[in-house]
């Protein structure tokens, strides 16, 4: 019975998922209702998670873990998922994808991610991953009459299935060479001399790197981001990253911790490559969704730099980074959802020309978000980078720090370019008035968070400092 209490949030999620599906089938045109219920479910689940006992528990034969890391990450996932649902309502209605499946699939993929986050066993992990991925394939091609959306879905499916296959192969290698799927047992029997195990580690890392779109496994990102409906893009840009990064941390610091010398180099490479590509490739983009794709690649590079350090503070810094990145991206997509004229959403950056004249408030908050994404003090984005570099320099990885900072300058260029279009260029026709209060309030919250984060950074970081990975 005690065990059931610990997975109450998961049970609640699954039950409400099925109930909502039934409701959706039997009630006509119930998109609005379902959407609202999904959001409420998420908030209720957050409440359940917060009320979980503040201690590390492993249940089901040590295959499922509930600790500070998983609690924090689950809350992030559910919270931002509900924000995404809130801000994309207008878009979904106008683009005629307001089907009941949409929120339900998102809920299902969230469930998958929550399983991933808490998994302490290869099999549970893989189950969660697949539940999540299958939902994502459908989401990417959700606008089924749109060629680009179907293309995005197919592309994502093919590549992601390949990555999942490689990952599964890695899992089987690990199992073969250590004799167990449990993380703790793997950890004790996997060390430097176990070359077969190292192969497994590399394969698993490839799969995970694909999920968080780290270079060189990023190829799908720009196309899928551009092709999918923007509401799905915003989901892709935020939510799967949380689970993937959490799993990355879990894998590296629990089962693979003894092979740190092997994976550290790989992560440093992934991190540097992502930072550089994220900074350079975005310069030529004129589609704002593609640009956000490259920008997210770059940001994941910084988050990986924190993991690469191999220290607790490094992991904490990368969780801080992730948290702030989520807020910034949420704000950025909130702005993107506002760029519409006569019910057509615009994605070309040049359409924003001179926006500051007609929409001073929107322009100002986009300005703040962009400067924050570029990492200019005193905005929140600077602190995110600051914590990463503090822990990177602590471990004396100066090259990583310097490359990271130089790519910051490079990436500042394309954020500045958007600001230039918004503020320095000649105004075009104004955008539609926005009546969606959910969108407005979410944007205001994220902007204000970014703006006043500097007053008391500790209030966020103290939460994260509780997360001890090993």
């Amino acid at each position: 019975m005690q065990t059931a209490l610990y997975i109450l949030p998961e049970i609640f999620l699954s039950l409400s998922l099925m109930t909502l599906l039934l409701v959706g089938v039997f009630v006509d045109k119930s998109y609005k209702l379902i959407n609202l219920l999904v959001i409420l479910t998420m908030f209720f689940t957050i409440a359940l998670i917060i009320n979980q006992p503040d201690q590390t528990v492993k249940i089901f034969n040590n295959s499922y873990i509930i600790d500070n890391l998983s609690i924090y990450m689950k809350i992030l996932t559910l919270l931002f998922c509900s924000f995404i649902l809130i801000i994309s309502q207008d878009y979904i209605k106008i683009n005629n994808i307001n089907k009941i499946e949409y929120p339900i699939i998102i809920l299902a993929s969230t469930l998958g991610m929550i399983l991933m986050i808490s998994s302490y066993d290869l099999i549970i992990f893989y189950l969660g991953l697949e539940l999540n991925s299958l939902c994502l394939y459908i989401l990417a091609s959700f606008k089924k009459y749109d060629e680009r959306s179907t293309e995005a879905g197919l592309k994502y499916f093919v590549l992601s299935a390949l990555a999942s296959g490689i990952l599964l192969y890695g899992c089987s290698l690990i199992y073969g060479f250590t004799g167990s799927t449990n993380f703790e047992i793997i950890s004790s029997s996997l060390d430097k001399s176990n070359m077969g195990g190292v192969f497994g580690i590399v394969f698993i890392m490839v799969g995970l790197a694909f999920k968080i779109s780290a270079v060189p496994f990023h190829m799908w990102t720009p196309d899928v981001y551009e092709g999918s409906p923007t509401s799905v893009t915003s989901f892709f840009a935020l939510i799967p990253k949380i689970a993937a990064l959490c799993v990355f941390i879990r894998f590296m610091y629990v089962p693979f911790i003894n092979a740190i010398n092997h994976w550290q180099t790989i992560i440093v490479f992934l991190s540097i490559a992502s930072m550089i590509l994220g900074a350079v490739a975005a310069i030529g983009q004129s589609n704002i969704k593609r640009l956000m794709a490259y920008s997210s690649i770059g940001h994941m590079g910084y988050a990986l730099a924190g993991i690469a350090t191999g220290t607790n503070s490094g992991v904490q810094s990368s969780i801080i980074y992730l948290s702030i990145y989520l807020v910034m991206s949420l704000g950025a997509f909130g702005c993107i959802f506002m760029f519409k004229r006569e019910n057509i959403f615009y994605e070309d950056i040049n359409e924003l020309s001179g926006m500051s004249k007609n929409h001073p408030k929107l322009a100002l908050s986009f300005l703040i978000i962009l400067f924050s994404l570029a990492g200019i003090p005193p905005l929140a984005g600077f602190f995110a980078k600051f914590y990463i570099f503090v822990s990177v320099i602590e471990t004396k990885m100066y090259a990583l720090a310097i490359i990271g900072l130089i790519t910051t300058v490079l990436s500042a260029f394309y954020y500045l370019r958007i600001i230039k279009v918004i503020y320095f260029d000649k105004p075009k026709k104004s955008f539609d008035e926005i009546y969606d209060w959910g969108l407005k309030i979410t944007l205001a919250i994220s902007t204000i968070f970014i703006l006043i984060f500097f007053i008391s950074p500790s209030s966020l970081t103290n939460l994260i400092l509780k997360i001890i990975v090993y």
């Binding site: 200019i376 600051f386 900072l405 970081t461």
Partner: protein, 499 residues
């Protein structure tokens, strides 16, 4: 002293800016009210900073008005304080901000509300730089200023504003990121980023060289020193008058302040080691940019290049590491702050009337605008360092300082004064004297009352400090003494360790 006066000085402009941002109502009222709010908050700030100066104890060298608060738990404190060096810069900043707000109200035509917000936010960051006693806090303020300045150049600038704004932003950002690495490294080497503690700690010698270079990369770009100066002429030329004024008068001084406070204070061994490098770059800057200034057709560009040359004097003075040299460079910075601000305002006056900055478009202005001609002459003479103006005091002290260290550098630097006379006087001759060639010049009106008040305040200060620099010197005296003494002690300590 419980009232957090430094925090108040830092954040009053910001509060003013938020106030302006939230003003609602009719368009005309918004403009009027935001002007009043901007003037009011910057005036209050100026008076507060004067009050700070009067209640400042000139007889002790330690930091005063210290405020410490927990900021990032167990890591970084929000720590403010001033000594004789920083207090002068704070007053300079509040004074120049006030002036530039007046000038903006006179000359900025579009989006005045946003412009005032940008200037007020910038003021907050600038004052923060001079007050902060923590490296991370310093970095935060130092970099934060980029955002409003980028917007000022980009939105209200001239034709090539986009190019200049980007160049300004990316150059300074690139320079500064190395400083961030250095700051974090200092934290891991010494366990603190608190400046007062660091000044007493001795950073191991082997780290100092790289750390010094990292700080140098940031300050050298900001100063700007040759060959990192290329962003400055562009930024100056394209920025609106008020922006140029702040850029020349305050933003450049942050780097000089940084050199004095951090490069000398934290890395004495490296400063000693790299002095020849700084001397060489500064001498090149003085001679080369003066020659370049001679060839300019654009008034703002000419003054921008002359700024680089003047900053060359400042760096020479700082790295002479003598009492006279250091005092001279601080006075030079302050006097350059006043004079270059005034010169940019003078150019702005002409630009407002004729919409061109080309020297060749003018000529014979003296016939039409006698008051203006008189005022421009005072500042021209100030810029070339005529005795009786504050420019002379600074340059003279710097040269006195450098002569003790390196005669060749001193002689070469003195050439700069002659060159300064050449380009400044030729500028003056071409604009003010001669026959009126351009008929539009005849239409120009002389200075308005408001402009005259702004200029008179600057003229007064330039001449006052030229004849009687004692208020500045006496404020600086103990702090500089202490700095030079500490520097020598530190250097000797490391020398002895080496043996």
């Amino acid at each position: 002293m419980n009232f957090p006066i430094l925090s108040a000085i830092i954040f009053i402009p910001l509060i003013g800016a938020i106030f302006i941002l939230t003003v609602q109502g009719k368009h005309k009222n918004i403009e009027k009210n935001s002007k009043y709010v901007a003037i009011f908050s910057s005036l209050v700030n100026f008076l507060l900073s004067l009050f700070l100066w009067f209640s400042f104890d000139k007889t002790i060298s330690a930091f005063q008005f210290i405020e410490t608060k927990n900021w990032i738990d167990g890591f970084i404190n929000y720590r403010l304080g001033v000594d004789g060096i920083s207090i002068l810069f704070i007053i300079l900043t509040t004074f120049i901000s006030l002036l530039s707000i007046f000038s903006a109200i006179l000359s900025v035509k579009s989006k005045i509300k946003e412009f005032l917000i940008a200037i007020l936010v910038l003021e907050t960051f600038m004052i923060g730089v001079f007050c902060s006693l923590d490296l991370v806090l310093f970095y935060l303020f130092f970099e934060g200023g980029l955002i409003p300045m980028f917007l000022i150049i980009g939105i209200w600038g001239g034709e090539r504003r986009v190019y200049s704004a980007f160049k300004f932003f990316l150059f300074t950002l690139l320079g500064s990121v190395f400083m961030l690495v250095a700051i974090i490294s200092i934290y891991w080497i010494t366990g603190t980023t608190d400046v007062t503690e660091l000044l007493n700690l001795k950073i191991p010698k082997e780290y100092q060289y790289l750390l010094w270079l990292a700080f140098f990369s940031s300050f050298a770009v900001k100063m700007p020193m040759w060959p990192f100066h290329t962003w400055l002429p562009d930024a100056h030329v394209e920025a609106p008058t008020a922006g140029s004024v702040i850029l020349a008068a305050v933003l450049l001084k942050m780097a000089g302040y940084g050199f004095i406070r951090f490069s000398l204070g934290l890395f004495p061994v490296a400063s000693d080691y790299f002095t020849p490098l700084v001397f060489a770059l500064s001498v090149i800057a003085i001679i080369y940019t003066s020659l370049v200034a001679l060839m300019q057709n654009d008034m703002k560009k000419l003054i921008a290049y002359s700024s680089v040359a003047h900053m060359g004097f400042v760096t020479i003075g700082i790295f002479s590491i003598t009492k006279q040299g250091l005092e001279g460079s601080i006075i030079q910075m302050i006097s350059h702050g006043l004079i270059s601000a005034a010169l940019f305002l003078c150019v702005g006056v002409l630009y407002d009337r004729l919409n061109t900055r080309m020297i060749s478009s003018y000529g014979g202005v003296a016939n039409i605008m006698p008051k203006y001609a008189f005022i421009l002459m005072i500042f021209t003479l100030g810029a070339l360092g005529l005795p009786g103006t504050s420019g002379f005091v600074g340059e003279f002290l710097i040269l006195v300082g450098v002569f003790q260290k390196n005669i060749i550098v001193a002689v070469l630097a003195s050439l700069g004064i002659i060159l300064a006379a050449t380009y400044m006087l030729s500028l003056y001759r071409r604009v003010i004297f001669g026959p009126i060639i351009n008929l539009e010049v005849k239409e120009m009106s002389d200075l308005k009352n408001m402009e005259i008040y702004i200029f008179i305040s600057l003229v007064f200060l330039t001449l006052f400090f030229g004849f009687y620099p004692d208020p500045l010197l006496s404020t600086l005296d103990i702090s500089i003494d202490n700095l030079v003494k500490n520097y020598q002690l530190n250097l000797n300590y490391h020398l002895i360790i080496n043996k």
